[in-house]
């Protein structure tokens, strides 16, 4: 699915900034573990992939209109929503605090796994399953205009809002 992935390296970022990530307290608040922080090459990597529609929209998902249903390896709970994930694809979620691009994270709250035969459901989480991922980037979502207005009451407010998001690439799904 990521066959046409091309990597473009951006400018180097300080390794000392990543050392600040060793505070696990903030990561555990979100339910993820920052298992190893420093990548071998210190360049930020941005992956540009063809826009294949992910079945995980933050709001809700609609079934694909054509073609086969997307294969999934696990269902994880991240960023306040549940998502299908499969290896080798990238997904978005609401921003995970304190996680910098290039760092590796693991999602421990796996609600179900699928190994090609039948899915395994967790009660509520599958014990021993985890999804390992690399953070691609922290970005701001498209701007949403928040406009409030009361007619005849001299009240109007206009604000813009860009939700902080995190894009992560799933590298490995451990199903046991």
């Amino acid at each position: 699915m990521l066959a046409s992935m091309t990597m473009t390296a951006t400018t180097a970022s300080a390794a000392s900034a990543r050392a600040r990530l060793s505070s696990k307290a903030s990561a555990e608040r979100v339910g993820t573990k920052v298992s190893s922080l420093i990548r071998a090459n210190k360049r930020d990597v941005r992956c540009e992939v063809t826009a294949e529609s992910s079945i995980n929209q933050i709001g809700f998902a609609t079934p694909p209109s054509t073609g086969a249903a997307p294969k999934w390896d696990a269902i994880i709970e991240v960023g306040g929503s549940q998502q299908f994930v499969s290896e080798g694809r990238y997904y978005e979620c609401h921003s995970l605090k304190g996680v910098e691009p290039g760092s590796k994270i693991a999602f421990e709250r796996v609600l179900g796994t699928h190994d090609g035969n039948a899915p395994t459901w967790g009660h509520p989480y599958v014990s021993g399953a985890r999804v390992e991922a690399t953070v691609l980037e922290n970005y701001d979502d498209k701007k949403v205009i928040v406009f409030k207005y009361r007619p005849k009451k001299h009240y109007r407010r206009k604000n813009g809002h860009r939700q902080a998001m995190t894009r992560f690439l799933v590298t490995k799904v451990v199903k046991a």
Partner: protein, 110 residues
């Protein structure tokens, strides 16, 4: 971009003078923003209602009703939410059926 140009950019596709005349466009664009504010909230409600309808239809194919199915999931402590369940019901009927059968056996053979 000037503010008026931003308004016109937002007013593309509107009917009549609303896309061409500044005063009218401003009114319609502000109305559009108000609708967006309201509908970002109703979108979540509609989505959940749609998921529930789909899950209901899928479970009734296998002899359960939605309320019985969800109650069974709660008893088993399966915390998969309705978005995921509806997606499975549409795209992976076999997996969904396995879940429904499991809930049926847990409640007693029906």
């Amino acid at each position: 971009m000037a503010i008026r140009d931003k308004i016109f950019a937002f007013a593309k596709g509107m009917r009549g003078r609303a896309k061409n005349c500044a005063k009218i466009a401003r009114n319609r664009v502000e109305k559009a923003w108000q609708y967006q504010y309201r509908d970002r909230r109703t979108k979540k409600r509609n989505a959940r209602a749609l998921w529930i309808t789909r899950i209901n239809a899928a479970t009734r194919e296998h002899g359960l009703k939605y309320n019985e199915f969800v109650h069974g999931l709660g008893r088993e402590n399966v915390c998969v939410d309705r978005k995921i369940l509806a997606e499975l019901a549409v795209n992976e009927p076999l997996s969904f059926r396995a879940l429904v059968e499991r809930v049926k056996t847990m409640r007693g053979i029906e």
